[in-house]
């Protein structure tokens, strides 16, 4: 038999890069889809009456009050039992996108509500239609105000994407777990993983703070 424990080597760089790539891909997918869905739901929520809001918010609440790890296990097992087994990447993207949507919809609801009603009256009196007001007035102004919160949610999605490892998606953390099994060197590998997340997240969070400060002026 071959040797059981072997140290990290350059042979592993391909595997690590694939893990990094997979983390980036699933985060981007979830953020993009989650933002689009969140924008739509946020808009519906800001435009609807109390009953519709209550129904929507209690549905979204489920996504926000069950741990992501359990949502992932349940969903991927359930669709399989239902007869439509999904690849870990697909199942993970769906749940992570919905999870993102739940938080993004709050962000965008406050975006739409942040635009003062006098602006809307003004734009309507200028002859803009309802949808023109939405697209040219409310959306641009609203999005600018909530950009820092949007970035906050996006950053937490990048970090939460590590959980998709539980359903077998070979993202960075699962890759490192496999390497730890083989090398018995947890510290070096974990520190590398931590550094990667930090290098992605920290500059973005600094940028978010910078924007926030600029807007406060």
């Amino acid at each position: 038999m071959g040797s059981l424990f072997t140290p990290l080597s350059w042979n592993d760089s391909g595997l690590i890069l694939a893990g990094i790539w997979n983390t980036i891909v699933i985060s981007v997918v979830a953020i993009v889809i989650g933002t689009i869905l969140g924008l739509i739901i946020g808009f519906i929520r800001s435009e609807s009456n109390k009953t519709v809001n209550l129904i929507l918010s209690s549905l979204l609440d489920i996504l926000r009050s069950v741990p992501l790890i359990i949502q992932l296990i349940l969903f991927s097992t359930f669709v399989g039992a239902w007869g439509y087994p999904l690849e870990p990447f697909v199942a993970g993207s769906i749940i992570l996108s919905l999870y993102t949507m739940a938080f993004m919809s709050e962000v965008f609801r406050s975006a739409f509500e942040s635009v003062h009603s006098s602006m809307l009256t003004a734009s309507r009196s200028l002859g803009l239609s309802y949808w023109q007001t939405v697209f040219y007035i409310r959306l641009p102004i609203g999005i600018r105000t909530v950009f820092p919160s949007w970035l906050g949610v996006a950053l937490s999605v990048i970090k939460d994407s590590a959980l998709v490892s539980v359903i077998g998606y070979m993202e960075l953390l699962r890759t490192s777990d496999q390497l730890i099994s083989r090398t018995q060197q947890p510290l070096e590998i974990l520190l590398g993983v931590g550094l990667f997340y930090f290098l992605i997240s920290y500059p973005l969070s600094l940028y978010g703070k910078h924007v926030e400060r600029k807007m406060a002026l």
Binding site: I70, L74, S205
Partner: protein, 221 residues
């Protein structure tokens, strides 16, 4: 769908599941309480630029906010283990949650404090209040109102993230669920019940928080 649900298996294991839920509550409450104490310290040294603590505070805050919780838990468990520091799964998860809670709450506290206009402080001084009085009666109550909601969210986050205990073999709700489902291989049933239990716990926390806030702030938010 060719899956047949066997709910009896889960109901027989209900006492163990509830025990797990209790551990979940326990660890998240504790992580919140200790996290708040540390966060106050981190926020104070950072705002007053007390060196070298303010550097430690900044590093703490940035690392806790910019790395995944899963990484922090692994680090507390196997990372520290490499240095011969051996935390039990419970303590490892607890310390990781404290680490994150303190980091996030420190920023919340700092933001809350800075949102109170300085003029309030001078006004209360000009009314003849002492330093302590102006903080205790004027600044802190207003600040508390602003940080109450983010604190509730942080608590809910702690409950949800304690589920990562599953990955270091801790027997909180998720870990216990994982163990029980391995005995009978009834994955769907056990995790569905766990999901419902998490939902009830977080709803309970949110509803009590909003009831308490109504009493505390009497509608004036």
């Amino acid at each position: 769908m060719d899956y047949q649900f066997h709910w009896n298996t889960v109901f027989q294991k209900m006492p163990e599941m509830l025990e797990g839920a209790f551990v979940t509550l326990h660890v998240s409450i504790l992580s919140m309480l200790i996290g708040i104490v540390i966060a106050v310290f981190l926020a104070i040294v950072k705002m007053n630029q007390i060196k070298p603590f303010s550097y430690i505070s900044s590093v703490w805050i940035e690392i806790s906010r910019n790395t995944p919780a899963l990484f922090q838990i692994y680090m507390a468990y196997f990372g520290l283990g490499a240095f011969g520091i051996h935390l039990s799964p419970y303590v490892a998860v607890l310390s990781a949650l404290i680490f994150v809670n303190a980091g996030y709450l420190a920023e919340t506290f700092r933001g809350g404090f800075q949102s109170i206009p300085k003029t309030q402080y001078s006004a209360s001084k000009s009314l003849g209040m002492t330093n302590f009085q102006s903080y205790w009666y004027i600044i802190l109550p207003q600040m508390f109102r602003r940080i109450y909601h983010p604190m509730t969210n942080q608590f809910v986050w702690s409950i949800l993230m304690s589920s990562l205990g599953i990955l270091v073999g801790m027997s909180e709700l998720s870990g216990e669920t994982q163990r029980l489902q391995s005995l009978s291989f009834r994955t769907l049933e056990f995790f569905m019940v766990a999901a419902v239990m998490y939902y009830i716990i977080t709803k309970f926390v949110l509803i009590s928080a909003s009831l308490i806030s109504r009493r505390l702030f009497k509608g004036e938010i």
